[in-house]
Amino acid sequence: MTGMPGRKAALVRAGSSMTGTALLMAVACSAPLPVSELTAQQAATVAGYPEVSLADAGFTTSTLVDVAALAQGTQTDVQREADATAASYAGLSLPYPIQPPPGPAVSAPPDAASHIDFKKGGDSGQGWATTTGAGMPFLDLTSFGQASARGTASWTAQVPIGPTDTNLYVQFHLPAAQVTGFTEQNGPSVWQDRLRAELLMNGHPVWSTEAQRQTALGNPLSNGGDNCINDFEASDNLVVFGPSLGLVSDPGQKSPPKTVTLWMGSFPPNQTVEVSLIVRGETQVERLCCNHAAGGLPEEFCTRATLVLDWDETPQPVRFWVGPSVF
């Protein structure tokens, strides 16, 4: 028993055998999911079908921002609207005057000066979440030091299916996204972000994408409680589940804006289909900021985690059509 004939050939065939000659087994109590992303040509055809207005679909919007920061506790803001913009804001930091004072982003993205200056705010979390009355989501979340920020922008519609044409089509728009952060060498910490967008039918995700980014530090000796020793970012890791938004390994790069048109299947006549989009983001930094004396004055050094879904004014970001089959 010493020979190992064809070992390398066997390894090659190990891969090809599973993918090339596999048999698929179906189970009787399941069926192909009748949801698929349309091509641009199919979407153009669908755009000529009878459209269901947002008002006729009982369109509602909702937003949530929830932040936590070391020694500052937590803060939560929630808003829900019918056929109007919902916008939430929450922020926690060391007390200092922010000008202009930050508040919900109702008609424009927040002013750059409304963002917390970590040199003054220290361990802090801040977030904006907006869903416009037309259904455009916006998120702006940042954590400095030992803090987290969560934001959700969502909408829900009740789309009526007619008595004859029973195919439902949904179009939604996701703005450009950035899932990023910065590891401060004088206040190093791991940080992580996640962004998930899900299109739901009656609460079930039929289209879902998620991107997570996390860093690892390079100095294993810095795992203890003192995080103010010099450390460095050893790796920056991006994980994507579902269809990619186009985020890449470079954390400085934004994904392009994306318009998705879905065929949601053919429903029994006269049903009402609940369609929702939930876009969620979260940023976390593990360790607190470091307060170093710089020029005789104390100064904060903080690692940052940031997630932004751009403010986007593309018209009609959400549309519904009920019509014949496009296939």
Binding site: P32, G203, F241, E274
Partner: protein, 340 residues
């Protein structure tokens, strides 16, 4: 309360024992029973309750009209579309929850090379399973052996309308699922008859990721979340056992968490949805072999590829309740004794 960020590049020393090949990992310490007041998120208004007093209040079983919708989906990358259960495709809410069951798989197929037979150690190269019929533990499971992308998900939605004339306090008991991940690198095992038990040589995947995600929503906003993501770092000097874990939200179970959703008045509506995802995706074409077994020239070999499995184990929410949670209401303390 946020979860600790315990995600760091983890290196495991090379090991030469069979026991090390299968590393079944409970992803987090089981969470303790917890009570959360999420009324501000669920209803927009924070309502204070005294949990001790509230627990002594009578249950109110007739104050709401309830409707249910559930759906399971599963996909494997050797099929052109995902599948769903239970057909037919419909958006109709039912007066009771159901127990969807779905399985998609690609079996492995033994092959010959000369007179040698090569058999895969796993009977499937991909497996997506949602089994809400199982007793007592239900499973949302994705598994790959070698390369593959597999996704499984289940959702349970309860839509309730408070119909009573008096307000009621609404709660959810969330049966927090357990979440188990198995990662076993591909390996060669030479000479298993050796006195030392044979020699293992492990293979690195090109890429491997997995995720278990459990989310509870109230009226479209998240009120409870748990997510645990695995990443094989694929650095130039990575060991096959290296991994990076991303943790989000609350700890996985088994545990029970009670959420106070808020006080509803006549005509108020509330929709509660639980969504569970289990995903694996691997680019791991490099498998190993164990053997030879038998006698020349008819050798037998066993093929060991990267095994990646994400298994979320759910519990029944109770009789006539969705899997994973149950919704109920109590008479608010201030309402007791009020004249009709």
């Amino acid at each position: 309360m946020r979860a600790p960020l315990s995600r760091r590049l983890r290196r495991s020393p090379s090991v030469r024992s069979l026991a090390a090949l299968v590393a079944a990992t409970g992803l987090a310490a089981p969470g303790a029973a917890e009570q959360l007041n999420v009324s501000k998120i669920a209803t927009g208004t924070f309502t204070f309750i005294n949990w001790t007093v509230e627990a002594q209040q009578p249950l109110a079983n007739n104050g709401a009209a309830l409707a249910y919708f559930d759906l399971a989906t599963g996909s494997i990358d050797t099929e052109p579309t995902p599948y769903f259960a239970t057909p037919p495709w419909s958006a109709l809410f039912l007066p009771f929850p159901t127990l969807p069951w779905l399985q998609r798989l690609t079996p492995t197929v033994p092959y010959m090379d000369g007179k040698s037979t090569f058999t895969y150690a796993n009977s499937n190269s991909r497996l997506a399973r949602v089994n809400m019929l199982a007793i007592p533990t239900k499973h949302v499971l994705s598994e790959s052996f070698g390369s593959g992308t597999v996704a499984a998900a289940v959702s349970y939605t309860v839509r309730l309308e408070h119909t009573g004339s008096e307000p009621l306090d609404y709660f959810v008991d969330l049966q927090v699922p357990a979440d188990t991940r198995t990662v076993a690198p591909a390996y060669d095992l030479c000479c298993p008859g050796d006195p030392n038990g044979g020699t293992y040589t492990y293979h690195q995947p090109k890429a491997a990721q997995a995720r278990g995600a459990i989310d509870l929503y109230a009226n479209g906003l998240p009120v409870w979340t748990n997510e645990d993501t695995y990443l094989y770092p694929a650095l130039p000097n990575s060991s096959p056992f290296d991994h990076i874990d991303f943790l989000w939200g609350k700890a996985a179970g088994p545990a029970t968490t009670t959420l106070f959703l808020g006080r509803l008045h006549s005509g108020d509506t509330l929709t509660v949805t639980e969504i569970v995802h289990a995903d694996v995706q691997a680019n791991a074409p490099d498998c190993g072999i164990e053997g030879p077994f038998g006698f020349y020239p008819n050798f037998d070999y066993t093929v060991h590829c990267l095994e990646l499995q994400q298994d979320i184990q759910m519990q029944s929410g109770g009789v006539a309740q969705p899997v994973g949670f149950n919704v109920y209401s109590r008479v608010p303390p201030a309402v007791i004794g009020r004249a009709p």
